[in-house]
């Protein structure tokens, strides 16, 4: 009896917190049929916003995947001065509000910032796509590392040592032993990183300058449409973002072998 009650409470909580808002967006999007949704999504400025989000994601995800794996290996397998510091710093983007990140980048690359001189050499960071990429890379940095580190710890290094005694070089050991053993942690980390990249708002809002048709990302576009009373447009873009997120999650759940819990 108590078990059923517990389950019921958990389910109600989940529905109220997670599913109800999603369902609401879904319902509101199609309130007036398909035509206005199509019109909103095929708007050139909306399409451009999606393209910016995609570009930023395609750059940030591989960068942070490589960084996450390398940092994970360094933290778990190596001893070096400053290791504790590195481990702590990886979590910084989780602790810091994205708005603060945006502001920090703004100060750093702004006219009087340390790297402010870059714009004199024709490299525009703020109010351009490099700024958006920097902001998104920053906020999505910890996810792969945070998934990989506990998996590497649990894995131990005996398999890697066995591969070495069998003649495998460091790269061969990584490629044939380590990477296949942590692949699900990497996949999960990539999914979370992607989700974070698609959804980032606060930091991007500050550094991008929200220039419509240039630096505006999909999430900024949602806000923009909403402010301009284009509710269908706002809902439609939100829905697309939500559908991508859910699709990625489902794809991951389906491809992940059942017995593997990593």
């Amino acid at each position: 009896m108590r078990r059923h009650l517990l389950r019921f409470v958990a389910l109600v909580y989940l529905v109220a917190i997670l599913l109800a808002p999603l369902a609401m967006v879904f319902w509101r999007t199609f309130e007036h049929g398909l035509a206005p949704v199509w019109a909103a999504l095929s708007d050139p400025e909306t399409l451009h916003a999606f393209r910016v989000t995609l570009l930023v994601t395609v750059i940030a995800v591989p960068l942070n995947t490589v960084f996450g794996i390398v940092a994970g290996l360094a933290i778990v397998r190596r001893r070096f001065p400053g290791k504790g510091l590195l481990n702590a710093f990886i979590d910084l983007p989780l602790a810091l509000s994205p708005v603060v990140v945006g502001l920090a980048l703004f100060l750093l690359y702004g006219r009087n910032g340390w790297f402010g001189g870059l714009s004199n050499h024709g490299i525009q960071v703020l109010f351009a796509w490099p700024g958006v990429v920097l902001a998104v890379v920053f906020v999505s940095l910890p996810f792969v590392a945070r998934e990989v580190i506990p998996t590497l710890r649990e894995l131990g290094d005996e398999q890697e040592q066995a591969a070495q005694t069998l003649g495998a070089s460091a790269w061969q050991t990584f490629r044939r032993i380590t990477l296949p053993s942590i692949r699900w942690a990497v996949v999960y980390g990539v999914v979370l990183t992607t989700a974070r990249c698609l959804g980032e708002y606060g930091a991007v809002a500050i550094v991008s300058g929200r220039i419509v048709g240039q630096t505006e990302t999909a999430t900024l576009r949602v806000d923009d449409s909403y402010q301009n009373f284009d509710l269908t447009g706002a809902y439609a873009i939100s829905l697309v973002l939500a559908v991508i997120a859910v699709a990625v999650l489902i794809a991951m759940t389906l491809t992940k072998p059942k017995e593997q819990s990593v």
Binding site: Q159, Q161, T165, G167
Partner: protein, 317 residues
């Protein structure tokens, strides 16, 4: 191929794991590194494999200095206590790993893997994953994997330590026979003196990072060089202030020179032998081993007071 360890030292922080050890292992021999936990035996084995770097000393493989050589260049087969099976590969791929790394032709790999699976009796399990094997099967797979690239030396780190007693005994016999067939120079680490005695031609006894004695198993038992070896290899008891083997305790009804008064606690007949449990005046227990005819001659009873005398006593510096 021979192994020569010269004055090897390894420290972990302030702890000296291996303390100036020198040891020579002959080609084709089966040698045990025996010692309690923390004696440095595993560290020494890992130094030979190149998995640890010594702080001092040299490792010479086949007459060549291998001290600075990376593990992948040593051509050494290593078997871990917990198998270190590649979990994402089938048994066949596990065994083939070293050969694939060496880029051997496909057919040659196939033939060699089949041969080894046959040798370790895992032909029927070739397409299974390690998770689907028992501990003993996994360790046999690990052995086949280590042997596949035809290593110059086979090193085993507590290879039976994680297995239950029955499987351990089975694998022990099997390894002995394998060594007779394959004749690769083999060194294994164990804390079990019985395992060392049963398997090895020669045993090196380590204690607190130092080498106490190296020798044939009989030598260690009959002529222990130190008190530690005397106590660690075979049973030893204190009688009248000296160490003595159970079968060197002589029992008499009459007091003799240097004899100690003891009470008979228990008499156990084990076929042709007998075991007599004794208690001395201080309450410390010891065991004497006699032949049946000696026992019959003494005509002992429980609770009887006797005089025990070391037939052959040893004094260590």
């Amino acid at each position: 191929m021979s192994i020569e360890i010269r004055n090897v030292t390894k420290r972990f922080g302030s702890f000296t794991a291996v303390d100036y050890v020198s040891l020579a292992v002959d080609t084709g021999s089966l040698t045990a590194l025996l010692g309690p936990s923390g004696s440095g035996k595993s560290t020494l084995l890992r130094i030979v494999a190149g998995l640890e770097t010594p702080d001092g000393g040299e490792v010479i493989l086949s007459g060549e200095d291998a001290t600075g050589l990376a593990p992948q260049k040593r051509n050494v087969g290593f078997v871990f206590q917990h198998y270190a099976a590649f979990k994402h590969m089938t048994v066949r791929d596990n065994v083939a790993f070293g050969l694939k790394i060496r880029k051997r032709p496909r057919q040659q790999i196939q033939a060699r893997v089949d041969e080894l699976l046959q040798l370790v009796g895992l032909q029927a399990f070739a397409d299974r994953y390690p998770a689907q094997l028992s501990g003993g099967q996994r360790q046999r797979m690990a052995l086949a994997r280590a042997l596949a690239p035809e290593p110059r030396v086979l090193l085993l780190d507590e290879p039976f330590g994680a297995l239950d007693a029955r499987v351990r005994a089975e694998l022990r016999d099997w390894l002995r026979r394998l060594h007779e067939d394959v004749h690769v120079t083999t060194v294994f680490v164990t804390h079990d003196q019985e395992e060392a005695m049963e398997l090895a031609d020669r045993v090196a006894v380590l204690n607190q990072g130092r080498l106490e004695q190296v020798g044939a198993t009989v030598e260690l038992y009959d002529e222990p060089a130190t008190e530690f070896v005397m106590r660690f290899v075979g049973d030893a008891h204190v009688l009248g202030g000296t160490l003595v083997r159970p079968h060197d305790i002589e029992l008499r009804h009459l007091q003799g020179e240097g004899s100690v008064e003891v009470e008979v606690e228990r008499i156990t007949v084990l076929g042709a032998d007998a075991r007599v449990d004794l208690v001395d005046g201080n309450g410390s227990r010891l065991v004497a081993r006699l032949r049946r005819d000696e026992l019959d001659e003494l005509d002992l009873e429980r609770g009887e007071i006797l005089w025990a005398q070391p037939g052959r006593e040893r004094v260590f510096d």
